[in-house]
Amino acid sequence: MPIDWFPLWLSLEVAALATLISLLLGIWLAWLLANKKFRGREVLDAAATLPLALPPTVLGYYLLVVIGRASWIGHAWERLTGSPLVFTWRAAVIASTLHAIPLLLKSSRAALENVDRTYEKAARSLGASEWRLFWRVSIPLARRPIAAATALAFARSMGDFGATLMIAGDIPGRTQTAAIAIYDAVESGNTMVARVLVIVISIVTAGIVYLSNRLEQRRA
């Protein structure tokens, strides 16, 4: 039986997009938490970390409530684009993004807080704006741990099952990601397909974890 590679490509695409979005959001939140003092700072941190701790199905349920066809976000999306947001690959991206953000936020916040404050003082006294300081000094100095966390976040978003199933469904050729395809293959007795997908995913993930560790170590 020929193997359908679509789920694997879909997983990689969803993970890539989700990682990109969570990288931007995660770093922005991390900068906010590391540099700004405002009320509810730690609450925000806790809320952003929650997806890491919640059971994926619970997260999926919340997402259904927030972006489902009955919610105002889902409704607005449907009015704008003519099709619902749930049960599309976009919904899978949203689920994966929520899973990836906590990893990126935690690591980036720690990395930004670890940057020697003297460099920031130096940059400011040399006339740098906060924007320039952030992009030219803080981020480059924190790049290794952030890159390591990005690799892990990619692996994490590639492997999501529960939340994705709840909100994007299991539509072969449209929203069926690799993790879900493996489950389907096992359920329907397609052992060969399951094995091939498991092996490919394991190799990709092992590669990413290795890369992440290398990045982390070279920081020292």
């Binding site: 020697d116 003297t118 460099y119 003082k121 130096a122 940059a123 400011r124 006294s125 040399l126 006339g127 740098a128 704006s129 320039r132 030219r136 000094v137 480059p140 100095l141």
Partner: protein
């Protein structure tokens, strides 16, 4: 010119006592040394000028610009203050080459002008060949020059140096001193130099501010401070002084002299301010102004030699009564031979005795 009057109260924290910083200083072009023990408020002074720390009250004026004024709520951000800050650990950005570091400081200049300035600055600080290197590929002295070069890129109106000599060996230190002297003549801006090395103060500074516990307790040129340390606290901080108690036996205002009981001997002293017969006074001496003899005589006090201490330019003889005397290296042998028979006598010229005030704050 910088003019600063600030105060800030730090409440006691875990592991730190309450601290009250209260300063008033004015510095012209030239090197002003901020001298004192660790935790006296020297670096806080630099940080308040650079804008890294906000005082509770007061104002800071740099030339005709108000950097900070608690009364009207003016508090310019660091990037608008025009301070060239050289940090203790150099703080060269590790992910940029030396050229990149200088370019970072010159971003406000147009492109061609920027290139010209960077090339000029690299040349002035003898760093042209190292321009493409990263900070970890530079030696301590090169990093030092690099960080000073970077701080001067944007033509600051004041230069703040935080313990620049720390961690440098004697050769690099000499290079640094030469560089600071050159800097002083090339840029007509105030240079504030934080240090707790008295030698650095006397070598570099045009004026010294002596800090203790959040206050400036004395100020003056190096020679003024040596001539009149003012209080025992300052004399102790500057080092090199021997401090002694003495009793006033007689005063002769007409001849501007006094008689003192000093180290169990009676000697002539200088005119003393604000004292009466029978008062106790605190006096200090400097080892280069006392003279060693091997026979008794006028104003000479008997002493038992404790040891000789080698110094680069002379030998310091330390006596058991607390006095120290600097002598030329060549005469040590002959003095020792003679003193073996007669003992040591230390001449204390009246002019070498300086009265110290008992107050914490010195009268200027």
């Amino acid at each position: 010119m910088i003019k600063l009057t600030i105060s800030k109260r730090f409440p006691p924290g875990p592991g730190s006592a309450a601290f009250h910083l209260s300063l008033e200083l004015e510095a012209q072009a030239g090197v002003t040394a901020l001298y004192g023990p660790s935790g006296a408020g020297k670096t806080l002074t630099l940080d308040s000028i650079a804008g890294f720390f906000t005082p509770d009250t007061g104002r800071i004026l740099l030339d005709d610009r108000i950097l900070f004024d608690a009364g009207s709520g003016v508090n310019l951000p660091p990037r608008q203050r025009g301070c060239g800050y050289v940090f203790q650990n150099y703080a060269l950005f590790p992910h940029m080459t030396l050229r990149g570091n200088l370019a970072f400081a010159a971003c406000a200049l147009p492109r061609l002008e920027r290139h010209r300035r960077i090339a000029e600055q690299l040349d002035r600080f003898k760093l042209t060949e190292m321009a493409g290197r990263y900070p970890h590929e530079l030696s301590g002295g090169q990093k030092q020059r690099g960080s000073i070069a970077r701080a001067l890129m944007a033509s600051p109106r004041i230069v703040l140096l935080d313990e620049p000599g720390r961690g440098l060996d004697a050769v690099l230190r000499a290079d640094l001193y030469a560089l600071i002297h050159e800097l002083k003549s090339a840029f007509q801006v105030p240079v504030l130099l934080v240090t707790h090395d008295p030698e650095e103060c006397f070598m570099l500074a045009d004026r010294i501010l002596v800090y203790d516990a959040g206050r400036i307790i004395h100020s003056g040129s190096p020679s003024e401070l040596l001539r009149n340390p003012g209080t025992a606290a300052v004399a102790r901080l500057l080092g090199g002084f021997s401090i002694h108690e003495a009793e006033v036996i007689a005063l002769d205002p007409a001849r501007q002299t006094s008689r003192l009981r000093f180290l169990n001997d009676e000697i002539s002293g200088p005119h003393l301010r604000g004292v009466f017969k029978g008062d106790r006074v605190t006096l200090c001496t400097r080892p280069e102004e006392l003279i060693v003899h091997t026979a008794p005589g006028d104003n000479r006090i008997r002493g038992v030699l404790r040891r000789f201490v080698e110094r680069p330019q002379f030998i310091r003889a330390e006596f058991d009564n607390g006095l120290s005397v600097d002598i030329p290296r060549e005469i040590r042998r002959s003095l020792e031979d003679a003193a073996a028979k007669t003992g040591w006598w230390i001449e204390v010229p009246p002019s070498s005795l300086r009265q110290l005030s008992r107050n914490v704050s010195a009268a200027e």
